[in-house]
C-alpha cells in the first residue's frame, strides 16, 4: 500500500481504481522482454492457426490467393513493410527463445548477463528482420 502512494504510477492506479499489479513493480527490460515473448508467441500461434484453418475452410488454392494479392499491385514499399511486420515477431520470438533455452541449461542467469543477453537479442532481432524482409 505504501508503495502505491509513494510511486507516481501507483498513485495514478489508485485514483483510476485500477489493479496495482502493473504499477507496483518498476518496469525493467527483462520484464518487458518476457511479456513480449509471450505476446509474440500467442500472436504467432494465432497466425499459424488461422493459416491451418483457412487451408481447411477457405476454398481455392494457395496460388490463387497469391495471384489475388499480386493483382492488387501493391507498391514495393508496402510489401517490404508487410514482410517486416510478419518476420519481426518471428525473429524476436526465435532469438529470445534461444535465450530461454540457455536459461534452462542454467547459463546466463545473473542480472547483468540478463541485460546483456537481452540487448543482444534485440539487436539480432532488428538485424535479422531487416535482412529477411529484404530477401
Amino acid at each position: 500500500m505504501a508503495a502505491l502512494w509513494l510511486r507516481r504510477a501507483g498513485h495514478h492506479c489508485l485514483r483510476a481504481h485500477l489493479s496495482p499489479l502493473l504499477c507496483i513493480r518498476k518496469w525493467s527490460l527483462p520484464m518487458v522482454m518476457s511479456i513480449c515473448h509471450r505476446g509474440t508467441g500467442i500472436a504467432l500461434s494465432a497466425g499459424v492457426s488461422l493459416f491451418g484453418l483457412s487451408a481447411l475452410l477457405v476454398p481455392g488454392s494457395f496460388e490463387s490467393h497469391l495471384e489475388l494479392v499480386k493483382s492488387l499491385c501493391l507498391g514495393p514499399a508496402l510489401i517490404h513493410t508487410a514482410k517486416f511486420a510478419l518476420v519481426f515477431p518471428l525473429t524476436y520470438h526465435t532469438w529470445n527463445g534461444i535465450r530461454h533455452l540457455m536459461w534452462d541449461l542454467g547459463k546466463g542467469l545473473t542480472i547483468s548477463q540478463l541485460y546483456q543477453s537481452g540487448m543482444i537479442v534485440l539487436v539480432l532481432t532488428v538485424l535479422s528482420s531487416v535482412g529477411l524482409a529484404a530477401m
Partner: protein, 178 residues
C-alpha cells in the same frame, strides 16, 4: 527433541502432491507455498542456517525421496517441451536449406505441438488469475477442450495444406517472391 507429529490438513491444496512428512509441518519449516522436495541440500543450507544437516539429508536428499508419479510426469513433460523447442529451432534453417515434404510435415507437427503446449502454459498462468476471481470449473473445462480442438484442427489444416497444396516451405518461398 522429537518433532511434532505431522497433521495432514485440508488446506494448501496446491501442494497436495507434496508428502506431508514432519519437516513440512514443523512450524520452523512451514512455508506458504509448496516447498519442492527435490531441492538440493546446498541451496537449503544457504537460505536456512538453523536447519540441521541430519534433517536435510533425511528429508530432502534426492536418494531418500523418490519422485512420485505426478512430479515425474511433469518433469518429463517439461523435458519434452524443451526437446520440441530445439527441434523447431533446427527445422527453421532446414526449411530454408533443404525444403522437402518431410520438413513440411515435421514443421507442421512441431509448430502445432509447441504452440499448443506453450499457449496452454501461458493460459494456465492467466487461468490462475481467472480461478481467483471467477468460479466456473465447467467453463474452464470447456475452454481447455475448445483449445485442444483448435490445435487439432490447426494440425489437420497444415497437413492438408502439405498434402493437397504446395506445402509450407514452398508456400513461404512463393510468398516471399511477391
Amino acid at each position: 527433541p522429537p518433532l511434532p507429529a505431522s497433521s495432514s490438513g485440508p488446506s494448501d491444496e496446491p501442494c497436495a502432491h507434496v508428502r506431508r512428512d514432519r519437516a513440512n509441518t514443523d512450524f520452523r519449516f512451514t512455508r506458504r507455498f509448496p516447498f519442492p522436495r527435490f531441492v538440493s541440500s546446498s541451496r537449503l543450507s544457504s537460505s536456512e542456517p538453523q536447519w540441521s544437516d541430519r534433517l536435510m539429508s533425511q528429508h530432502f536428499s534426492r536418494t531418500d525421496q523418490p519422485q512420485d508419479a505426478g512430479s515425474k510426469a511433469a518433469s518429463l513433460h517439461w523435458t519434452g517441451e524443451r526437446v520440441v523447442s530445439v527441434l523447431l529451432l533446427g527445422l527453421i534453417p532446414a526449411a530454408y536449406l533443404n525444403p522437402c515434404s518431410a520438413v513440411d510435415y515435421s514443421l507442421a507437427a512441431a509448430l502445432t505441438l509447441h504452440s499448443h503446449w506453450q499457449v496452454q502454459q501461458s493460459f494456465q498462468g492467466i487461468g490462475q488469475v481467472v480461478t481467483d476471481y471467477v468460479r466456473g470449473a465447467a467453463l474452464q473445462k470447456a475452454a481447455k477442450a475448445g483449445f485442444l480442438v483448435l490445435s487439432a484442427f490447426t494440425f489437420a489444416g497444415l497437413c492438408y495444406f502439405n498434402y493437397h497444396d504446395v506445402g509450407i516451405c514452398k508456400a513461404v518461398a512463393m510468398l516471399w517472391k511477391l
